[in-house]
Point group: C2
Chain length 294, copies 2
């Protein structure tokens, strides 16, 4: 069965839109910082600001030159930290090579870090503190599984990939106690030696390794749940564009062996955006509550 | 073969003692905060301060009443944060139930958090930043494996237990890129359903679940490496004390099936203390370097 991320994301966006439609004196505001003009980043940022507009979240797009100095970028971030009208700050990754993303992200006020990339927020996430911002892609996958009534408690979840954006926080989210979690989690990666053997014991496979069709049917236990985070361009002369977008899973071969699978596109991607809206809304509510207390 | 944590810890302590024996204008200083009189905590704190003395690290023991208010405890911590003579601060866990450990630990200056429990340090550890303080027990296990020439790269490491003190940071340390890491890591726990099946695929098992003799021989793949973090008291009428200390592994049954195993006591425990000294020394050097720059 298809795990329809697009539909679930649509429902969540509708819920946020509804909640924002009355009773608030101002709109939530998300600031998105885009350094340079990396084409996929431009596309992602546009999707995010468009989604904001659809639900009633204001967005500010800060477009900065690719050759900006780290110090100047940090100053831009600090302006957004200090702006009381800004509820969330997202720095679109990857950054140009001369900028150290860890240095830069650390300067975002952790309380406005709706992308969940600040080390303090990742640390809290890892410690099981649910009152933090989780990174949008892994949070979106967790919510998608929950809303699809797929219970991972006690199940063996294999996460393939160990990025700070997806693999590691995905593992951290699912290994905690609490609803939607309590999974036994394995993190595998490019150095893993016996991947097939481990994969065959997995009830859920989350592929986030960035290699087209990496997860093949012989790695999948019958009835497993498959979540595909990959977005890979491969040559395809039959398409007008000359390429097609495929995930990290060999969808056609795997789809009949597993119980659930996310499509690419239309699976994880829309959930990522829905969680960015949800985190921004959460920050907005929290900041309004603090304001009303003082 | 026995993984002799006691001997490796002794070598590390000797190295620190040697390094501190000349060329420094002051001794490093560790402050240990002990709230109440929980007997194992009293024993651990005494071991730590004794080890400090042996290598030439000054220690301050702050013994506070069990009924101290959270605010007062935090004030004590802030005094230590502000004391330029203090290089490291350790709050001995567990705390009495009326105190929230996450709240308390967050008030330690992250740069003096030699026990590696501050969310910012855990977040950095999780992100793969090696320039942070890792919690002493998992760091000690990593160092013990490295110094025993046991290479975990590409190996499947099963961590049983998901505490913030051991299981989760252990997994985080071993899944990163870099020397002594690059392992495929599984975190299992009390909710895990198919533990034996997963354990049989593990090249290394790290048991930190707090249940006496939980890991039995039928869970161990021949030739696996076994690290036992458990310290459990069980009744034993043949002993004068009426009890004996056993680990989380059924040592006698497992020892002939595995390639390496840590004893309890004398395995992981001494490494934990050696890493506390090592982290304190690291903080001392860093703080001296900063001072000499300004």
């Amino acid at each position: 069965m298809i795990l329809d991320g697009k539909q679930i994301a649509g429902e969540i966006q509708q819920e946020i839109k509804q909640a924002l439609s009355s009773g608030h004196t101002r709109m939530p505001c998300l600031a998105v910082v885009l350094v340079g003009e990396n084409p996929p980043s431009v596309i992602y940022v546009n999707r995010k600001t468009k989604a904001c507009a659809e639900v009633g979240i204001k967005s500010i797009k800060k477009e900065l030159p690719a050759n900006i100095a780290e110090k100047a970028l940090i100053e831009e971030i600090e302006q957004l930290n200090n702006d009381p009208a800004v509820d969330g700050i997202l720095v679109q990754l990857p950054l140009p090579h001369h900028l150290n993303p860890m240095n830069v992200i650390q300067h975002i006020n952790a309380e406005k870090d709706v992308d969940g990339q600040h080390p303090e927020n990742l640390g809290k996430l890892f410690m099981g503190d649910t009152d933090t911002f989780a990174p949008c892609t892994p949070l979106g996958i967790k919510v998608m599984l929950e809303r699809s009534n797929i219970d991972v408690s006690g199940q063996h979840v294999l996460v393939i990939g160990r990025s700070n954006l997806v693999g590691k926080p995905m593992a951290a989210l699912l290994m905690q106690t609490g609803p939607g979690a309590n999974a036994t989690v394995t993190v595998a990666h490019s150095r893993t030696k016996n991947l097939k053997e481990i994969a065959m014991t997995a009830d859920v496979i989350i592929a986030a390794i960035g290699q087209p069709k990496f997860v093949t049917a012989d790695m999948v236990k019958p009835g497993a749940v498959i979540v595909d985070v990959g977005i890979n361009k491969i040559d395809d002369s039959t398409k007008g564009t000359g390429y097609q977008i495929v995930g990290d899973v060999d969808f056609d071969a795997v789809k009949d062996k597993c119980s659930y699978i996310t499509p690419v596109p239309g699976g994880v991607g829309p959930m990522t955006i829905a969680m960015l809206l949800s985190n921004t809304y959460k920050s907005f509510l929290r900041r309004q509550a603090i304001k009303s207390q003082t």
